[in-house]
């Protein structure tokens, strides 16, 4: 039977208290005070929808062989490329097979994530694919002092769809598609344009979601009471409750919309909420998940005993626990490029990216794939044709070796105020991987004052440079120092 065989999530580490926004911007638009509670997740300056999708995908693939993936779907409305398969970047970061796979972007709509899931489930049910990884991620820039700034958070989730060792059996789906435009972002526009909230609440979320869920129940013959959790995004707290009341969902069975702890993660949100629900689910629980946007997708699952056998993962719960408050509103606006701060002449260098090099070295640059010498066993990165071990020096006798999931230890580091950086000082250092291999990386998600030689690091796929002149976004891996117990 087709269903979910694994799941993972990623919420970025920075949290911006909505009170910080209010303190800085309520003078301009006092209405934001109405939703001043809680905090939203904020992507670091070097993260975007692709990098967060990679993080969620790795989390999801814990205990699964990435080489067995037959397809990767990426759903987002904030993809860095309009023409270049964004899912292809995620796939390369996962060091997926290239031949015999079929990757795709699902774009332009808040329900693109659930639509991607339906497609993946259909293809697995049809037997044409065995393992499809569905990722959804959004990192939406908002104008300052808007309700969108208050509601939106950043995050990603991933679910693996397959038919072996299924942890949540797929019970079917139902969709409504209609051109209800509560908000939109036109071609080449930076920000969302939203219509009156009262209409969006009453005729949008409040009407379409109940209709779609009722439609599914009618089609399947199931009852709302059959579901341990009903999962639907809606950042209007009152409307979220009203939908539950309208559908007769018992108290405690409507999945929390995460407004208080992370905000609405857009395309990712139905999957983020689903993963949060799966993390707490027990075998036998039925879950109903809805994705809203120009209609509504509804999917039903039943959790199996296999959920108990899953390898530990960070998930939504774990990433919510990995939390650092961003107390500086200006820093947030700089991270999102909403204000102009000078990077200095040193930061002007902007060579184009050699696409021939990127093609030739795609495993190295996107997958963090090095080699291991077949003769002496030394893992190494970067790759030169001659083994780095001075006692070996054999030539071109290597096998691929992935560093992306290896932990390392810091050998030396610094925090550099001279290096042009959006978040100075630029912290970087030389790290040695467990099992061998070492090289120098930029560090991210860290505080210089807490870093020590010998500290553990984990690798994270990040945006490395944005070439605004040509519209190119480059990625590479960075090291994340693992400060015990989190940092300030």
């Amino acid at each position: 039977m087709a269903g979910i065989t694994s799941f993972g999530g990623y919420i970025p580490r920075y949290r911006l208290s909505r009170m910080v926004i209010v303190q800085n911007m309520a003078w301009y638009f006092p209405v934001i005070m109405a939703v001043a509670g809680g905090e939203k997740a904020v992507a670091n300056w070097d993260e975007d929808s692709v990098s967060m999708a990679v993080a969620a995908a790795y989390d999801c693939m814990a205990g699964h062989d990435r080489k067995e993936l037959d397809a990767l779907y990426f759903a987002s409305t904030t993809m860095p490329f309009a023409d270049r398969l964004n899912a292809g970047i995620v796939a390369a970061a996962l060091n997926m097979r290239e031949n015999g796979v079929s990757n795709a972007d699902f774009a332009s709509c808040m329900k693109a994530g659930t639509t991607a899931m339906i497609s993946a489930l259909d293809s697995v049910q049809a037997g044409s694919r065995k393992n499809v990884l569905v990722t959804a991620s959004d990192q939406r820039r908002t104008k300052m002092a808007t309700m969108f700034e208050m509601f939106y958070g950043d995050g990603a989730a991933a679910v693996l769809i397959g038919n072996k060792d299924v942890v949540a059996d797929y019970l079917g789906s139902y969709s409504i598609n209609c051109d209800f435009v509560d908000h939109y972002r036109g071609q080449a526009k930076e920000f969302d344009y939203g219509y009156e909230e009262r209409w969006v609440r009453d005729i949008g979320y409040g009407k379409v979601i109940p209709e779609a869920i009722s439609g599914f129940l009618a089609q399947s013959g199931m009852k709302i009471g059959d579901f341990a959790k009903v999962i639907y995004p809606c950042y209007f707290g009152g409307t979220h409750k009203a939908i539950a009341a309208k559908l007769g969902i018992e108290k405690g069975r409507a999945q929390n919309n995460l407004h208080a702890v992370c905000g609405d993660t857009g395309t990712a949100h139905p999957l983020v909420m689903l993963v949060a629900a799966l993390e707490e689910a027990n075998p036998g629980d039925r879950l109903l998940v809805a994705g809203f946007g120009q209609g509504c997708d509804v999917l039903a699952f039943e959790v199996t005993e296999k959920i108990r056998d899953m390898k530990p993962r960070t998930g939504i719960k774990g990433s919510l626990a990995n939390r650092v408050e961003l107390t500086n509103y200006q820093k947030f606006t700089k991270f999102r490029n909403l204000i102009t701060a000078d990077l200095g002449i040193r930061g002007e260098a902007n060579p184009n990216t050699s696409l021939t090099v990127l093609w030739r070295k795609r495993k190295m640059l996107l997958g963090l794939v090095g080699v291991r010498c077949k003769k002496c066993g030394t893992p190494q990165f970067p790759v030169y044709p001659t083994c780095v071990n001075p006692k070996c020096w054999s030539v071109n006798d290597f096998e691929d070796y992935e560093f992306s999931d290896k932990e390392a230890k810091i050998l030396m580091f610094t925090g550099d105020m001279l290096s042009p950086s959006v978040d100075p000082p630029a912290v970087y250092g030389l790290i040695a991987f467990e099992g061998g291999g070492r090289t120098m990386f930029d560090f991210t998600d860290c505080d210089l004052n807490q870093i020590k030689v010998g500290m553990k690091t984990k690798m994270s796929f990040r945006r490395r440079q944005t070439d605004n002149m040509r519209g190119f976004t480059g990625y590479f891996w960075k090291a994340v120092p693992q400060v015990e117990g989190g940092d300030k």
Partner: protein, 402 residues
Amino acid sequence: MATGIRDKVAIIGMGCSQFGERWNDGPEELMVEAFTECLQDAGIEKTDIQAAWFGSCFDEVGVGKSALPVSMSLRLPNISVTRVENYCASGTEAFRGAVYAVASGAYDIALAIGVEKLKDIGYGGLPEFSTAMGTLNQLWMANFTAPGGFAMLATSYAAKYGLDMSEVKRAMAHVSVKSHANGALNPKAHLRKPVTEEQVLNAPQIAYPLGLFDCCGVSDGSACAIVTTPEIAKSLGKKDLVTVKALQLSLSNGTEFAYDWDGDHFVTTSKASAEAYKEAGIKNPREEISMMEVHDCFSITELVTMEDLHISERGKAPKDIMDGFYDLNGGGVPCQVDGGLKCFGHPIGASGLRMLYEMYLQLHGRAGQRQIKDPKFGLTHNLGGFPFMNVCSIAIIGKQDA
């Protein structure tokens, strides 16, 4: 069987421009300034020079590519001129080319000249180099700078020897204080103010744990040398010859960066210095080396280099430094006698030759207030690149009979 370079080549003339922020001069003027002094010192005609080697590093922002800038600026008589670039060893590489050319017998008299015009870029520090690292490296290498690259060395050195960073910082501060004291005595230096340990320790941070005074200056400058065989030097009436005793170069091969290294020393310097002592016939460098000009791009570089030159024992450089062993009149091996990169700044192509210039002046007893009593061997050292991946050059020059 190779016999090395010892005493096969003599330096008969040297020149060094004023170093500093030479806003009104370009590389052409700087080279002519150094060359005019050099030619006069050698007492030969320009037409006696048969070949030249030219060191410059940032050709993108300075002189441009090729050796033409030298041939054009000095109006050399259509002789062979070769441009060399090997990071911070570029100046010493030019010297090496000229010396080897003479030693081979291919030429009688050769010129080595280096220049760098750094202060035309519009911002502090060395020119941005991420775009000069190659098309692949610029897609993945960390966002690092020279001070950051070397600053890392302090963290691993402290970890290796269990030192508190404040101890390392204090020894680094003394390195800079000592160099400033020497530079204050040198009219050609860029920075000529003595500084105190407190000033150094309280300076703004550039790259943890390096502060502003842990970093060398950034300057424009040029230096050059004319070399020939000892026999020709004598036939020209030269006395008290200063000869080349050793020239060594060692380059990283990725071991430090990608295989095995504690981040506590310079693999290349360790090797190049040992080879240089062998070539020069020096058994105990701590006793026999009279003075040194080492690559103090950052105070931590000099500190660690003292161990890789096999003068301080491993882990003992901070103590030797604090004991004043490397001070001008500390009774040990005076280091950065002219003020070092710290006070001269680091116009990269010129630095190696500027260091040799001071050793040459000292060996001829012409170093004024900085003069060391009866020096025999002077060692110069460059380290180009970064602690984990670098080019190291060592030169030893001395009195012919030493």
